[in-house]
Subunit: 401 residues, 2 copies
């Protein structure tokens, strides 16, 4: 149907309101997905739809078989980098989790997940027709997942269902507190029970070193746009040999009349996945990713410093595990909340004060709690953020120790 | 794990081997996905992962609720443009079909599909645990789907299963012959039986005018990177009011310990879908798309002209419905096949001869049959392609009428 011309005006000249050049972006989910210069160049080169399909091999026409550009090699290098046997790039980390859940289970089975898991983990279970049991965390203020309790949950399922859960999933680093979990503990439990272990590395793989085999993971899921300097949407599913046949099961369907078959296609992927721009950004950033994970310790030094500084402000308290093991941080800030109550802009004052100081990424409206991420910022930027918060505290007569 | 530096070299400076400036690309799946200038600009602006999430509304944190950039409005305009009630942008057209199949059926149900459907339609059924019945086509040389036979297939399922199929799907324009089907016929049948009708418009919506309501479609699926001048991966699912609750069912799962719930999230989408670059290209190209579908008739004039010219070459015969109703074309070329038998480069000679003449997109190795697409080419380019084929024919002593 016809769309009036004036309704189309707003799609012309679409601009992002904050540029990386002008603002320091501390958005909790955006730091790891800022493109490298190499990725930006590749994006322009491969922007067109199906741009990577120029040399799709006629016989095994599948994304992971393409050698120009070197997708086939990339999948191998990526698997190796993660300490796993096979990799497929899928459209989102959540799709990777859905694929794992779906291909490892029967409807109504149980999967066990940690209670800090992202909402999409719950949805992936729901779409697969599964039931979940959550592994508890320690609650305020650390919210630390009780990893040993995976055993209790497995036993609970065994008792209730007469069979083991189809899979157990641990969120390596969660999105709420940025808590890093000791995956080896869960890897050991999974091995003892012989249950597939899915480690969701959306916030870890791509920014810190990950070795799936060492951690005891059977499947690793990751997010390109979250942690690999790639455009959205890109997910990663890395698989160990033992689960390859299940997760990457080939198509068996055939046409009742035509007898058409598609035996080279991987069912859970619906064939090809990311056929263009975002995959290319993932590949173009890869050399930088390989380098940057080695600098993780320094990233931790920076966030620990910033937390210790911000906690000098009265009423500021970092939630989650202490000291920080990841750059994603959840701050409680009672004092700023008190300021907001009488401020004419209410909870928006903090966002606006920061924006005036060229800092963006904290959710507009929040003051009592807020999340931010410092990944990849320079020491200079870290200190600038500290100063900005001090400045705002002083402006509203909040004490600084 | 460590990746040796020399293995990383190949990811530096990734280049597409053929640029749109230098070559005429007649790749069967690529013509409709060439970015507009506006989309390329927007891509650079929104390349970073999660670039569209700067102003995610805290209360209903969902991609389709974002107003800066104007995603919420875009979904409304896009639905209207397709003559449907609701739209969601998903990661691929095949995901849209999977979502439709999955949410409309119980495992082991039947869906009915046309026998020219894309492989991913079969895989979407397989992943949903469904069985299929194919609607036959007329075979060589037209391969025209017998649309009235949807009735026979519905009756067959009814008899065999004691219940109706969960859905019927028609590929509006198929990828094999570029045949355009009269969707209204199937829409009428679907309505008579009260079965949801999915019209896969991967090759039609975005290049030609589509009005879902007029065609009797309950769901329309589309592909941004195939036909909307967008980067991959982007799919479209457009839904009529009557199926909204089923397809966009909200999450009902809750944590057994935490009682966490995610009632705003749409289960089949796993929450948010395309959180960046490709969605923005779809939006930025939209004003041009609205214009370009009005010029469809001229596109048909061009392909009909080219087909009539190429058929002057001995042994050239266009397969599929005559005269052409779509720019995707399947050519039989017996004479060139004969040339290839004695050519030192065998079947690759045609690809190489064309490439020398700055034409790419025909699958390397094919001569007996090949597919191409002229969508969006100028008359001048059409004539240039004709001349190139004539030139090659003459070189190998193939007669031209």
């Amino acid at each position: 149907m016809k769309i009036p011309k004036e309704r189309l005006e707003k799609y012309r000249n679409l601009k992002r309101e904050f540029s990386e050049e002008e603002y320091i972006n501390i958005h909790p989910i955006q730091r790891g997905g800022v493109l490298t210069e190499e990725a930006m160049k590749a994006l322009i080169e491969f922007g067109d739809g199906y741009s990577v399909c120029d040399f799709c091999p006629p016989k095994e026409a599948r994304l992971d078989m393409i050698t120009r550009p070197p997708i086939r090699d990339f999948y191998k290098d990526l698997a190796k980098f993660l300490g796993m046997d096979y990799v497929r790039v899928v459209t989102r980390c959540r799709e990777a989790i859905f694929i794992a859940f779906k291909m490892l289970s029967e409807p109504n089975d149980y999967v066990i997940i940690d209670s800090n898991a992202h909402y999409s983990t719950y949805l992936a279970a729901e779409l697969s027709g599964l039931r979940i049991k959550e592994v508890p965390n320690s609650g305020y203020p650390e919210f630390k997942v009780n990893l040993e309790a995976y055993i209790d949950k497995i036993e609970e399922v065994k008792k209730e269902k007469g069979k083991l859960p189809s899979a157990i999933l641990l969120t390596h680093v969660d999105y709420l507190y940025g808590n890093l979990n000791d995956a080896k503990i869960v890897g050991k439990i999974a091995k003892d029970y012989n249950i597939p272990f899915i480690l969701n590395c959306a916030y870890s793989a791509g920014v810190m070193p990950i070795n799936g085999k060492e951690l005891g993971a059977d499947i690793i899921t990751g997010s390109g746009h979250k942690s690999w300097a790639a455009s959205a949407p890109t997910g990663i599913i890395a698989i160990n040999e033992s689960l390859k046949e299940k997760i990457l099961a080939r198509s068996k369907i055939s046409g009742d009349i035509t007898k058409r078959e598609f035996k080279a296609k991987e069912v859970a992927l619906l064939g090809c996945t990311v056929m263009g721009a975002p995959l290319i950004t993932l590949m173009a950033s890869f050399p930088k990713i390989v380098e940057r994970v080695e600098k993780w310790e320094e990233e931790i030094n920076k966030i620990r410093y910033l937390v210790s500084e911000l906690e000098r402000i009265e009423g500021f308290k970092q939630l989650g595990i202490r000291p920080k093991l990841h750059t994603l941080t959840h701050m409680e800030s009672e004092s700023f909340y008190k300021v907001s109550i009488n401020h004419k802009r209410k909870g928006f004052f903090l966002y606006e004060e920061l924006k005036e100081r060229k800092i963006v990424g904290i959710q507009p409206g929040l003051t009592k709690h807020f999340k931010f991420n410092t990944y990849g910022l320079t020491w200079e930027q870290i200190k600038y953020i500290r100063d900005a918060f001090f400045d705002i505290a002083r402006k509203y007569n909040v004490n600084i120790k």
